[in-house]
Symmetry: C2
DNA sequence: GTCAGCACTCTAACGCCTCAAGTGCCAACT
DNA sequence: AGTTGGCACTTGAGGCGTTAGAGTGCTGAC
C-alpha cells in the first residue's frame, strides 16, 4: 500500500514527537505545532487511516497515537531526516581516540565509550577478527616450567595472547626451535588456513606435534570465540529512558546486556552491511522492545570492527546514526593516515 | 551501653527476619515464632528500648521495626550465626576452578562468577598486585615497526602485557640487546624497586634510555593502576532484590557498579584484613544503602587477590561470608597443592 | 476533501471510607 | 520488678465514586 505524502509527513511527525517526548501524540499537537494549514479534525482522519494500516496504535480510545514497529521500520528506512554532528561532538570523538597505542582492544573500548556518551544509550562493540586475518608473527613465550604465553600478530595489528601448556619433558632449547618452526610454518597464512592445515602438519612435524596442536587449538579457539572480544559501555544509560522504569523490563534488558554470548549472537550476522538497524522481535537474538543499531567499519579492505547501540524502540535513530557515522569516519581517517 | 542477652537475641531475630523477608518485623511475629515463653507485649517493650538505643527504627508509628545501620554492624560483628556451605555448593566452587591455565586473570574471573552465582549478589574481584611482586622475566616483543608488547612475569605467575612505543631509529638487533639488558637489570627486583631505581639506571644505560624509561613507565602504570584489573560478575543480580525496585536507587547503584574507578577505590583500602564488612556511609567510597563484603586471600605469603560482594544493607551476610570463606579455602588449597 | 461542533470514552487524581496491622500504654497480676 | 492482657490510637493499603481533562469519532455543513 502506498502512503500519500501527507500521511508520510504525519507519520514522521508522530515518530519524531514520540521519540523526543515518550508521550502518545495527539491530533491537536500535530495540527498546532507542525501543520497549521489543516485542522486537528483532518489530522485525526489521517491518523485513523494510518492506524488502520497498522502504523499507529492507541493505548486506549482517548489517548493519542503511538508508533507501531512497522512505523519505526518505515521511519528509519524512508522518513527520518539525516542528523548532523556538531563541531563539539566531532572534537569529542577525535579526542577519544587521541592517545592510541596500536592496541586494537583499546580502540574498541574507546569507541564504545564515546558512542555511549554521545548517544546516551548503552553501546556495544566487537573488534573484527576472522579467518581471513594473515599471521605475521607468532611467539611462544615460556614463563613457568609448564606454561607459556602464545602471541599471534596478524595484519590487523591485533595481538592475541593465550596461555598454553608446555609438555613436561620439553627443554628450553626444544621450545625455541619449536618456536622457530611454528613461525616458519604459519607466517603469511590466514588463520582459517591454519585451522584446516592441522592434519597435514601432523605428519611433518611429529616431534613438535604437541606444541603445534596447542598453537592450532589456540588459534581455533580465537576464531571461534566471538564473545571474547565484546566490549560494552554505558550499561547504566538505559535507566535514563522511561520505558525501562519498570523493574521487569529493566531486568530483562540487563540480563541480555550482561551476557556476552547473547551480545555476540546479536552482532554476528551481517558483518558486511555498513549501518544496520534491527528492531524489536525482527531478529530472534534481539530482545523484544529493543532496537539495535550497528555499524561495521573498515579501512581499505581491513575490517575494523562492529560498533553499535542498543536501546528502546523509541530510540533517537537520527542521533545514533549520525554518531556512528561520525565515529566511523574519524576511525577510518585515523587508520588511513597512519 | 551493654545489651542484655534477651535484647541481643531479639535484635538478632529482627535482623534475621528482615534479611529474609524484607518486611518490617512485628512484636507478634517474634513472640509467636521465636520466643513462645514471653508475650508480644514484653517483646514490644524490649523493641521500644532497642529503638531508643538506636538499633531499630519504624517507618511509621504502626509498622514493625527495621534494623538501623548500627544494628547491622552489631549483627555482623557479634550476633550473626556462622553459615555453612552445603556439599553441593562446595563442589560447585571446585568445578568453577577445575580448568585453570595459570592465567591469574582467568582465576579472578572464575572466582567472581562463582561468588555471584552462589550468593545472588553482584560480585567484584581484583587480582592482587603490588610493589612487592618480584620480576622473574621481562620480554619486549616487537610486532610493528614502531610498537612492541612488553611482558612482565612476576613470582605471582601474573603476566602483565602493555604496549610500548619503540624509538624509530632502533634496529631489531639493538632492541634485542636492550631486551637482554632489561632482563639482566630487573630480574629478581621488586616492582617497587624498579620504579624507584629509575634515576640510578639512567646513567648506566644511557644508550637504551628510551627503552628503559618506557619499561619503567609501564611498570609504574601497572602498579598505580588499580582499576585495570577489576572484574565483576552478576551485575544484573541486584535487580532480584526489592530495595532496588525504585529506578533512582537502581540507577545510583548501577552507576557505581559500572565505574571501575569507583570499585577500585572501594577495594583499595585494607588489603591485609581477611574478611571485611563495610556498611552504608561508613566509608565514603561506598554508596549509601550498600554493603560491601570483601575477603583477601593469600597462599603462604603470596596474595591472591581481593574478592567480594556488593549489595543492599539487607544482605544475607551469613551466606556471603560462608561463600567467601569457601572460595578462599578452595583457592588456597589449589595454589598450595600445585 | 475539510472542518467546527458535539457526544462519547477513558485515565488520572482526589477524597472518602473501611480494614487490618501494629504500636504504646496502663492497670492488674506474679 | 518484670510480665501480661486489654484497649485506644495511628497509619497505610485498598476499594469506590466523583470529577476534570484530554482525546477521539462522527456528523452535517461548506
Amino acid at each position: 500500500m502506498k502512503l500519500s505524502d501527507r500521511k508520510k509527513k504525519i507519520l514522521q511527525i508522530v515518530v519524531d514527537e514520540y521519540i523526543t517526548n515518550a508521550q502518545p501524540v495527539s491530533s491537536k499537537n500535530i495540527a498546532q505545532n507542525y501543520m497549521q494549514d489543516v485542522s486537528s479534525a483532518t489530522v485525526r482522519s489521517e491518523l485513523n487511516a494510518l492506524e488502520e494500516m497498522g502504523y499507529l496504535s492507541q493505548l486506549h480510545t482517548s489517548s493519542g497515537r503511538v508508533p507501531s514497529i512497522e512505523a519505526y521500520k518505515l521511519y528509519v528506512s524512508e522518513l527520518m531526516d539525516k542528523g548532523k554532528l556538531t563541531g563539539k561532538e566531532l572534537s569529542q570523538i577525535k579526542s577519544a581516540f587521541a592517545r592510541q597505542s596500536g592496541n586494537m582492544e583499546e580502540v574498541v573500548r574507546n569507541a564504545a565509550k564515546v558512542i555511549s556518551e554521545l548517544t546516551d544509550y548503552t553501546s556495544i562493540a566487537v573488534a573484527a577478527h576472522d579467518e581471513d586475518d594473515v599471521i605475521e608473527k607468532i611467539s611462544i613465550f615460556p614463563f613457568k616450567e609448564d606454561r607459556a604465553l602464545l602471541l599471534v600478530v596478524t595484519d590487523r595489528a591485533l595481538i592475541r595472547d593465550k596461555f598454553i601448556a608446555i609438555p613436561p619433558d620439553m627443554t628450553e632449547e626444544q621450545l625455541e626451535s619449536a618456536n622457530r618452526l611454528v613461525n616458519r610454518t604459519f607466517k603469511g597464512k590466514r588463520l582459517g588456513e591454519v585451522m584446516e592445515a592441522s592434519l597435514a602438519a601432523e605428519e611433518q612435524f611429529a616431534s613438535y606435534k604437541a606444541i603445534f596442536d596447542r598453537v592450532i587449538d589456540a588459534i581455533s579457539d580465537y576464531v571461534n570465540d566471538k564473545s571474547g572480544s565484546v566490549v560494552m559501555a554505558g550499561e547504566d544509560k538505559i535507566l535514563n529512558h522511561p520505558e525501562y522504569a519498570e523493574v521487569d523490563k529493566m531486568k530483562n534488558f540487563l540480563s541480555v546486556v550482561t551476557s556476552r554470548d547473547k551480545i555476540a549472537n546479536m552482532l554476528s550476522d551481517d558483518n558486511d552491511i555498513e549501518i544496520s538497524i534491527k528492531i524489536g522481535g525482527e531478529d530472534k537474538n534481539i530482545p523484544d522492545d529493543c532496537s539495535l543499531v550497528t555499524a561495521t567499519y573498515s579501512a581499505g579492505n581491513v575490517k575494523l570492527g562492529t560498533y553499535g547501540v542498543i536501546g528502546p524502540l523509541r530510540m533517537d535513530y537520527q542521533k545514533v546514526v549520525s554518531v556512528l557515522e561520525g565515529v566511523g569516519k574519524i576511525l577510518e581517517d585515523m587508520v588511513n593516515k597512519k
